[in-house]
Structures are given as structure tokens and as C-alpha cells.
Amino acid sequence: MVDFSNPRASFDQELEHLGHMLNELSQEAIGAYEQIKIALQENKKDVALDVVRHDDTINEMTEEINDLAILLIARQTPVASDLRRVIATLRMSSHLERVADYAVNLAEYILLNEEKDLGTYRDKIIGMIDHLVIMVEEVMKSYDLQDAKMARNVAEMDRTLDDMYTSSLTELFEITRSETTHVAVLATQTILILKYLERAGDHVTNIAEEVAYYVKGKTYEFNKSSVKARYLKDNQ
């Protein structure tokens, strides 16, 4: 029997499926960071290698989301909140892909260096990863609940990542200047790694902006209040 009570049934199903795919992608990204944590904590280079290998799967998932979103736009010509949802999901997926990319950079860093060399920065990196993972989980929750305020709070959380990054810079720069080549190279790599984690946080902030756009229909820039603005304020 054909059910005429909801003429949007198949469209709604496809929209929901798109949301599921995005959630899966976020799970993969989180999974990559969890593995990085294990690799760091238990000094398992093979786990880091898995993260590098798994990157293709994440790229494929992003492409699938892209394909489905384009098909939905072509076949259903969504408007209003439907259109915003499809567009936001599409853009969120590419931010998630970037977040996962940084996990690959971390994996390469682990593969290149010996555990003993990382020193206190190992815990610092793990701390940033923990924070980043919570941000991804929260922003996905705000997407599922269509909660713009919750998304805004995630963007606020990004400040902590910014601070963790900037607070290490002085010491690391000092090392690059005063130490032997090997240690200086390691310090430079560590700066980059912390920077990648800070950037990953920016992408989560972008994802939060997409959630707010989808829910509210307006464009937000949560990032404004972040490093740059505060840098300007602190250096007046």
C-alpha cells in the first residue's frame, strides 16, 4: 500500500541517511585520534601506521557524502531548512575530513620519532587530543539536536586548544634556537603538531558555525573571538 500521509517520506529518509553518514565520518575521525592516543601512550608504531592506512577510507566516506548531497540537490531541489541542512552537512564533511587529516600528520610524527624524545610534550599532545575529541563529540551532538547554542559553546571550547598551543610556543622556539640540530628539528616538528591540533580545533569551530547556519539560517563567525582577536587585544 502506498502511504500518502507523508509525501516527503523518501526525501526525509535520504536526509536522515546523509546525517548518519556524517555521524559515521565523525566516528572515524574520533577513532583516528583515539588510535593516535594509544600509539603515544603505549608506544605502538603499528597503530600509528594503521591511522595512515585508514585515511583512504575517510576520504571515500567524505566523497560519498558529497555524492549523496549533490544527488539530493539535483533530484529533490531542497529549499529553506532542507537546503541549509544539505549544504551544511556537505561543508561539515569536508571540515571533518581535514580534522582526520591532521591525525595522519600526528601518525607520521609518531613514526618519525622515538618515544623518549617526546618528553613532556607527549602528555601535552594527549591533553589536546582529549579536548579535541570532546569538541567533535559535542558538535555532532549539537547537529543531531539542531542546537545552535550548544554549537556556540563548542566554539568557546576552542579557546582552550588555542591556549594549549600558544602556551608552549615560547619554550619550543627557545629550544629551536639553542639546542643541537636533532633536538631543534624535533622541537620544530612538535610546534607543527601542536599547530595541527590547534587547526583541527578551528575546523571543529567551522563545523559549529555550519550547525548554527543550518539551524538559524544566518552565517556566524565563531572564530572571530579566537586567537587572532585576542592576539590583537593582548598586543594593543
Binding site: 500521509s5 516527503r8 531541489t77 529549499v79 529553506a80 531548512s81 541549509r84 539560517g217 544566518k218
Partner: protein, 253 residues
């Protein structure tokens, strides 16, 4: 009166006998813009469109309250010349309705009825109207053929040419492309884009995509009420009213 308002409608009520089909409609229709009316079947789009050139006068159960001003003049005042009003405010219907006569005679029907007899003048009107309706190239070699022998899309453009020949200021179109194939539809839509430079266009459509593609302003009606009217881009990306959102996304029902 605001500078570029063609119509100004205030608190318009319309009754068919006991039944109130329009409830306190207030809106401005801007000159040289395409304004689209959307809404579910029976919400009063056609009824409202017909109030703009007093086509409802032809139905004797109809009673109207409120005010409609065209260029600042109340069109329902006693001394208004309704024939002249209908010349100024032309109308194109859902189904192409060419008269059973030649293409040429169809186009110059109105001007002839107005008393223009000069052959040269009529030729001029026929050519310029057919050109304006983007039909000239397709029919210039067969002007004496019957209008009924044209395709549906050509017939609709012929009807538009017939309306244009009356030199209207406003063209009302009630679902003008609902009987046309996609290509003919696109031609009529393209034509509207061109026509709005000289005319004010008001169109009723059931196609959300059509409203989104061609109109500058969109008005959403529901059960005789104007729920929301605004910039088409806003209506289709971020409508203010939940009822509008529900309708355009197909959740309505």
C-alpha cells in the same frame, strides 16, 4: 504612495456569497518586478489575482471590502472605466486560449476592438507584440495560419503577445506554464525576465522552482490569508514563518 509601487492593496476581504475567500490582504506590488503568488490549492491565489483587474466583477455573488490602488487611484471607485482598467492590467490564463482565427488576427484582436483600422499600424503592433513575446521568428512566415495550429508553448506565447498588443502596464498570469513542457516553460520564463523591464508581472504558480527561478518577490497564501511576503531569495532560503517553511519544503498537510 511609495515611488515604485504599482499596486497598493489594503485590508482586502472577498466573499463568494457567505464564504470568505480572502481575509484582510494587505500588500504592495512593485513596478517592473516579477511577483509570484504561491500556496496550496484553494487558498485564494486566483481569486486575489482577479481582484487586480476586477475580473471578479463578472461573478455576481462576489462582495469585496477594502481597497486596491493602482498608481494611487482606487480601482473599485464608481467612476472607474473597467474596460480601460482591464486594458492596463492584462491577463494570461492557465490554458492557452487563442481564438479560432489566424495568428495575426489573434494578436490584433484587442487593438481592432479599440477601433484601430489602419493596416500599417496593425502590422506594426502585430510584429512588435510577437517579437516581445519571443514568438516572431517562429511564426513570421505563417501569420495567416490558424492560432490553434501552434504548439501549446507557442499558443501560450501567442496569448502573451495578444495581451502585450493592448499595451498593458501590468500582466497577470495564472499558472501560465502548467500545461507546457519544460522547454516551452523555460521560454516563457525567459520571456518574463525580458518583459519585466517594461511591465509589472504578477504570476500564480504551483511550481516552487519556478517561483524561485523567476520572481523577485514571493507571496505565500494560506486559506485566504497572506502569510508571508518578501524577497524571493529570503523566502526560499530562510522563510520567517513556519507555515511558509512547511509549505515550500513539502511538509504541509
Amino acid at each position: 504612495m511609495a515611488e515604485n509601487n504599482k499596486f497598493e492593496v489594503e485590508n482586502l476581504d472577498l466573499f463568494y456569497g457567505e464564504f470568505q475567500a480572502l481575509k484582510s490582504i494587505t500588500m504592495d506590488i512593485e513596478a517592473n518586478k516579477v511577483t509570484a503568488f504561491i500556496g496550496p490549492s484553494g487558498c485564494g491565489k486566483s481569486t486575489f489575482l482577479r481582484t487586480l483587474n476586477r475580473m471578479n466583477d463578472l461573478i455576481d455573488t462576489v462582495r469585496i471590502d477594502g481597497e486596491i490602488k493602482l498608481d494611487g487611484q482606487d480601482i473599485y471607485k464608481k467612476d472607474v472605466d473597467v474596460t480601460d482598467l482591464r486594458r492596463r492590467v492584462g491577463m494570461v490564463f492557465q490554458k492557452p486560449n487563442p481564438f479560432p482565427m489566424s495568428i495575426y488576427d489573434n494578436v490584433v484582436y484587442g487593438p481592432r476592438a479599440q477601433g484601430i483600422k489602419d493596416k500599417k499600424k496593425l502590422d506594426e503592433i502585430a510584429e512588435s507584440s510577437l517579437r516581445a513575446a519571443a514568438l516572431w521568428d517562429e511564426v513570421k512566415d505563417k501569420l495567416n495560419k490558424s492560432g490553434l495550429a501552434l504548439s501549446g508553448g507557442q499558443q501560450q506565447r501567442l496569448c502573451i503577445a495578444r495581451t502585450i498588443a493592448m499595451k498593458p502596464e501590468i500582466i497577470l498570469m495564472d499558472e501560465p506554464t502548467s500545461a507546457l513542457d519544460p522547454i516551452a516553460t523555460l521560454k516563457v520564463e525567459q520571456l518574463m525576465e525580458e518583459l519585466k523591464k517594461e511591465y509589472t508581472i504578477v504570476i500564480v504558480t504551483h511550481s516552487m522552482q519556478q517561483a524561485a527561478r523567476i520572481s523577485d518577490t514571493t507571496a505565500f497564501f494560506l486559506m485566504g490569508e497572506l502569510i508571508e511576503m518578501g524577497d524571493t531569495n529570503d523566502i526560499f532560503s530562510n522563510p520567517k514563518k513556519q507555515q511558509t517553511e512547511d509549505y515550500i519544503t513539502g511538509r504541509f498537510g
